[in-house]
């Protein structure tokens, strides 16, 4: 480990001044979609995909349905790499195209055929994310929820395990709720 080195009080005060300046330059609060886009990407850092998923040349984040967060996701993943693979975001028209995706974001517009979509991707090693209400109860893995104006998420471990994904305890720690079970499991 590194041995901490002592800094002079002057340097300490100067560094405090620098960070005070950066606080004043804080950006305006991100919108819900923007936050979700960032979260979707960041989930990748707390999830381990099964071995067969690693053969893909790129790390694909796919969006099914309407695309409210497309531009934000574009900006978020630009130049990023996960496990040494370039991160690519693409839009899917049909759930059958999800082959090769690592993360699948299911838009609210797909609520009407959610059961079908989930069934289609069930056997694929991908993380399903959505902000459709009760998504996690219906077999989705991560569901965005709004809690006092802030974007939070809840997790259903069972589908993730079935897909061969392992979620880090760190991720579960910050989840609003962690559930188990196929359709009607509760936390």
């Amino acid at each position: 480990m590194r041995v901490p080195r002592r800094v002079s009080p002057l340097f300490f005060v100067l560094s405090l001044l620098v960070c005070a300046a950066s606080v004043s330059a804080q950006q305006p609060k991100a919108s819900e979609a923007e936050v979700e886009a960032v979260y979707i990407f960041k989930f990748s850092q707390f999830i381990t995909w099964p071995g067969n998923a690693r053969s893909a040349p790129t790390f694909d984040i796919c969006i099914l349905g309407d695309d409210p967060l497309g531009p934000f996701l574009d900006r978020t993943v630009r130049g990023e790499r996960v496990n040494g693979k370039a991160v690519v975001d693409r839009h899917l028209a049909r759930p059958q195209d999800a082959q090769g995706c690592s993360i699948l974001y299911i838009s609210r517009s797909e609520n009407y055929r959610l059961r079908q979509v989930l069934a289609t991707v069930r056997e694929l090693p991908l993380l399903t994310v959505s902000d459709i209400p009760e998504f996690s109860s219906k077999g989705g893995m991560i569901e965005f929820v709004l809690q006092s104006g802030r974007v939070r998420f809840q997790v259903n471990l069972t589908p993730a395990e079935q897909a061969g994904l392992s979620m880090s305890s760190e991720l579960l720690k910050v989840a609003v709720a962690v559930k188990s079970g196929g359709g009607q499991g509760s936390q």
Binding site: M1, P4, R5, V7, S15, V18, C19, S22, F46, V174
Partner: protein
């Protein structure tokens, strides 16, 4: 510190012991304390850093998904660590994300944390503060701030100081004990030696000896040598005293013999003088009878013979008188009384005038000269001196004799001065010895005993007598009587 140069050896030894052990112990304590403080500080920092890193890695998801509540839960785990006063997590932009404080009212952070790749540490008197960056997958997410109490260090210092003080005290006690032992075995003989040397040189008692220590070290050699020296001195001292005693005894014996011989001699000369007087009176008497009864029948030559006989018997009678006087002045007891010298001198000169009425002598005596002396002896002195003056001025047309007193060197000095034949001053010392005469009998009649008698009498009184004069210019005789 104390000036040790003049303090006793024992005291100095004690001080050296105490100083040496104290210094060694103190420096050891300081070194240990410094080392302990250093390692403690290192350990404390390492510990804090580890805790900060654990907090940091446990807060990654909370920071990533902006969940301060989860971060706070993580921070609250620090409550099991009693030294941590406060902790906080800062966002990358420096804003406060979550915080924890041991004391609910206490202010957690006095200023926002720092940004950058630095790990920063700050020590104050009572606290240490540490900033640890939170890095996840090569990306900086924020900073952990952690503040720890240094009470443990303070308590440790206090404990350490207490232990050090106790150990120091104990070792000083031990040093004192050891030095007490050394004092007995090492300094005590030296102190004893010094004390004995002092007594010896002060009281000159060379019979003293320094007790032996029973060991074979330099001090023992010193003591033996000193004792030997004392023995030698004592031996010499005794030999010297013995010789001195012997000498004194011998002197005493000789003195006794001398006194006896002297007394015998005086008795002899007195009896001889006395016995000589008888035949002399007979010769004188018969010469007188011869002259009275047959003087008319004698021719000039026979008459001259008788005259010579009577003259010779007269001189011999005087000689005997003088000898008797001389021996008497040293044997008869003295009776001091007040004597009027003026009166005495006048009566003596009157007698001389009556004996030789043809002489023209002008005598002057200072008035009221009195002394404390033996009247009979002092009369002999004056008779001798005045008769001498009378005699040695006999060739003058008109003689002048003066008897007076003057102050010389603060003493009353009497003198008899004449303007007669005088003497050679080089021979002045011989004047006062018996039978020493500076003039022939044919020149001036005399026995040569008078001035010796004067000398003896004045000496018996404790005074002095001396003469001044030169040939044909008169003489002066001085004497003092204390």
């Amino acid at each position: 510190m104390l000036d040790m140069r003049h303090s006793p050896i024992a005291k100095r030894l004690t001080w050296i012991n105490v100083l040496v052990s104290g210094t060694a112990l103190l420096s050891a304590c300081v070194a240990f304390l410094a080392y302990d403080q250093y390692t403690f500080r290192e350990g404390l920092l390492r510990n804090l850093s580890v805790q900060a890193q654990i907090i940091g890695s446990n807060s990654v998801s909370a920071l990533t998904f902006n969940d301060p509540q989860a971060a706070k839960t993580t921070l609250t785990a620090l409550s099991s660590s009693p030294d941590i006063i406060a902790a906080a997590i800062f966002n990358l932009d420096g804003s406060l994300f979550a915080q924890y404080s041991r004391f609910p009212d206490a202010k957690v952070v006095d200023a926002p944390g720092t940004i950058g790749e630095l790990e920063t540490v700050r020590f104050t008197n009572r606290e240490v503060m540490l900033l640890e960056p939170i890095v996840f997958q090569g990306r900086r997410l924020g900073t952990v701030y952690i503040r720890s109490d240094l009470q443990e260090r303070t308590q440790r210092l206090k404990r350490y100081a207490t232990i050090a003080a106790v150990v120091l005290l104990l070792s000083l006690l031990a040093a004192l004990l050891v030095s007490a032992f050394f004092r007995r075995s090492f300094a005590q003989p030296i102190v004893g030696l010094a004390e004995t040397a002092r007594v010896v040189s002060q009281e000159r008692n060379y019979s003293l000896r320094v007790p032996s220590t029973g060991r074979r070290d330099e001090v023992a050699v010193l003591i033996d040598a000193f004792n030997n020296m004392l023995a030698q001195i004592q031996q010499r001292d005794e030999a010297l005293r013995h010789a001195q005693d012997e000498l004194e005894q011998r002197v005493e014996e000789r003195t006794r013999q001398l006194v006896a011989a002297n007394r015998e001699l005086e008795a002899f000369s007195y009896s001889v003088s006395h016995d000589l007087r008888g035949p002399l009176e007979i010769i004188n008497g018969f010469a007188h009878i011869l002259q009275m009864e047959n003087g008319a029948a004698f021719d000039a030559s026979a008459r001259e013979c008788v005259l010579q006989i009577t003259g010779a018997t007269h001189r011999m009678s005087e000689l005997i008188d003088d000898l008797l006087n001389l021996s008497r002045v040293s044997t008869t007891a003295m009776h001091r009384e007040r004597v009027d010298l003026t009166q005495m001198s006048k009566s003596i000169v009157d007698q001389l005038c009556r004996r030789e009425p043809d002489r023209r002598v002008e005598f002057s005596a200072q008035e009221c000269m009195t002394v404390e002396a033996d009247a009979r002896l002092i009369r002999i002195v004056l008779e001798n001196l005045l008769r001498n003056a009378w005699k040695y001025t006999s060739k003058n047309q008109t003689a002048h004799i003066e008897f007076g007193c003057e102050q010389r060197l603060g003493r009353s000095t009497f003198y008899v001065r004449d303007d007669g034949a005088g003497f050679d001053p080089a021979l002045a010392d011989r004047l006062f010895k018996p039978f020493q005469r500076l003039h022939t009998t044919s020149e001036f009649a005399g026995t040569g005993i008078g001035l010796a008698t004067v000398h003896r009498i004045i000496a018996r009184h404790g005074g002095e007598v001396w003469a001044e004069g030169s040939p044909q210019k008169g003489a002066a005789f001085f004497f003092t009587l204390p």
